[in-house]
Symmetry: C2
Amino acid sequence: MSLISVREATSIILNHSQDFGDEMVELTKSLNRILKEPIDADRDFPPFNRVSMDGIAICKASFDKGLRSFYIENIQAAGSEQLSLKNIENCIEAMTGAILPKNTDAVIPYEQITIENGVATIHLDDVKYLNNIHPQGFDQKKGTLLIDKNTLIGSAEMGVLATVGKSTVLVVKQPKIAIISTGNELVNVDENPKPHQIRKSNVYSVLALLNNLNLNASIFHINDDKNVLLKEINQILMDFDVLIFSGGVSKGKFDYLPEVLTDLGVEKHFHRVQQKPGKPFWFGAKESKTIFAFPGNPVAAFLNFIKYFKPWYLKSMELNFENQSRAVLEEDFIFKADLTYFLQVKITNKKGILYAKPITGNGSADLVNLIDADGFLELSSEQTEFKKGSILPYLSYR
Amino acid sequence: MSLISVREATSIILNHSQDFGDEMVELTKSLNRILKEPIDADRDFPPFNRVSMDGIAICKASFDKGLRSFYIENIQAAGSEQLSLKNIENCIEAMTGAILPKNTDAVIPYEQITIENGVATIHLDDVKYLNNIHPQGFDQKKGTLLIDKNTLIGSAEMGVLATVGKSTVLVVKQPKIAIISTGNELVNVDENPKPHQIRKSNVYSVLALLNNLNLNASIFHINDDKNVLLKEINQILMDFDVLIFSGGVSKGKFDYLPEVLTDLGVEKHFHRVQQKPGKPFWFGAKESKTIFAFPGNPVAAFLNFIKYFKPWYLKSMELNFENQSRAVLEEDFIFKADLTYFLQVKITNKKGILYAKPITGNGSADLVNLIDADGFLELSSEQTEFKKGSILPYLSYR
């Protein structure tokens, strides 16, 4: 059975992105969701000529005529209705954030005046028009597009959504995801494993990777029994949009998963990719359901999630892809097999350059190694020697 | 009143880190929390000689004597108790993840054998000792430190915690945080502002920034009334560990905050920092309570959170600091005032190098600008011209 390349696998996966629809959520629940509506300025920003320093507001013409001392008529506080300067040879104290009083066109900050007996004296030789005034519409005109559709809502976007009054926001609906481990050797985290058993760990790593994409999931475990697999996966296929398996896709006698999925009408898009770790990866779909079946080895499942699930999910979200990250290999590295190799690396930012130091571990079963690393460099199958200084694609999980 | 430098402000803040204590949480709730116990290997990893390819397990001595065909005695499945090869001239089929059968010391994968009438024939000229076997303790010996105390629990750490059976984990307790906006010009997000009013936005940006540090907060608003401020802040000081204010710290007539905080017995550590934006920042403490009072301008509050609150929080968590990020300035930039300038920049990774392109906005009130940028470059107050190609400290909020 021939393997497909990493490039082909990626292309097939991206061609099978899913549409999850959209939903309204409260503003404070919208962080790290994907915006599904364009956000326009509902007013000019600032919405009024805004005082930007604490001081006095004057009519510049009076200053230009030589006037330096101004009787203080009133105080314009932030949040108060606009006052009007009655006599243009007077002034109004004006606070940061306040609307500029009528008949004034410059603000002189407290640092440049003295006030005595209700009269402010300006210690300046000239004053600019609109001095310390943030003019209406200067930042954004009403109706301007502020945030595009299909944008990840981060902390900056939250502030803008609040400003324009979006107390509820249209975002992409989150898929219902099931993480399913198989393998009779696995016991629960709170159990004491027998000598030939180990505790489940992949489901927790994958759940954490999903959580970091702001997704949740339900966790299942099914033993290596074909009939039980058929029955339980059939039910999970009905209840969930995305199924992520770990284990059961290698060549073992009890690796029933590809067969069971086919029996359940899941169309196989590919099985086995020319890469290390993560070669036995199986990918398929049934109607609107997508199935990622990763190998059971911890590093393999982890890498496959980052390399395949994550871009598939971002594509499904219609989120515009970022430039792919790259990093500079810090030591020579040799990998001889005709496979794309995903090398675990620790990243250091030195003078603005991302350096990647190989963390040579004990193969795809040693998940402790992932703790010392930050991500994977992708080493092409078309090359065997990778020289120090090579610039290579970098997948981060930190 | 003299300003203090950014360096002094940072140093004072880091000297006032807080101890929040620790607590036990369930494993699945521990993601992005700070681990407060060292995690050791509870067993060898792998805990047994583990079969790492699907195939047959043989006794290498029999192969070395010239034997190539082996009668299949049994199947060793993953998760089954260890079998024993009865006749060392026979073999046992063995599956990935299984314990290696007794009396065998090499595994030959299905790809390199043929099976006919219950007899497996090996198509190889030699077989290595421990071929396709992942020996007990090869990755980690029982008792080895796997994860250090004071580590951020990410997806890699989750897998290891599960493997060693940590169904509950000791982590740093999360502080109770209040975000308090002041300013009479502010109305709620779902309100229709009058011409001289604007909607609250800083509390939402700050809440989002906290959420992205895996922290939550309660939101308050207090109008610019000294008695109301005194009464409400007094209560908040009793109920919360950390208070983050936005607004009320400039030189305006109604900027009562510094005065009110002093009246409530909060010790001022500094007020006003030699920087732009974010100059009027006020920082203080009362017993075990820490108070960050940021200016009301959106970009100023945002920047001050990233520059001051975040490192203070990480220090309080006793999380080891990462290398400070740096990026390469992509265009000449001039800033003349004797202040540290925080320049909004968009980052691009080109060939492993982080390039920072200035996003020149409309000053500290234009929060829309934050959407186009990814972070801030820190431009020292001791310099006015920053040349294209300069390597400068970079603070990211993406």
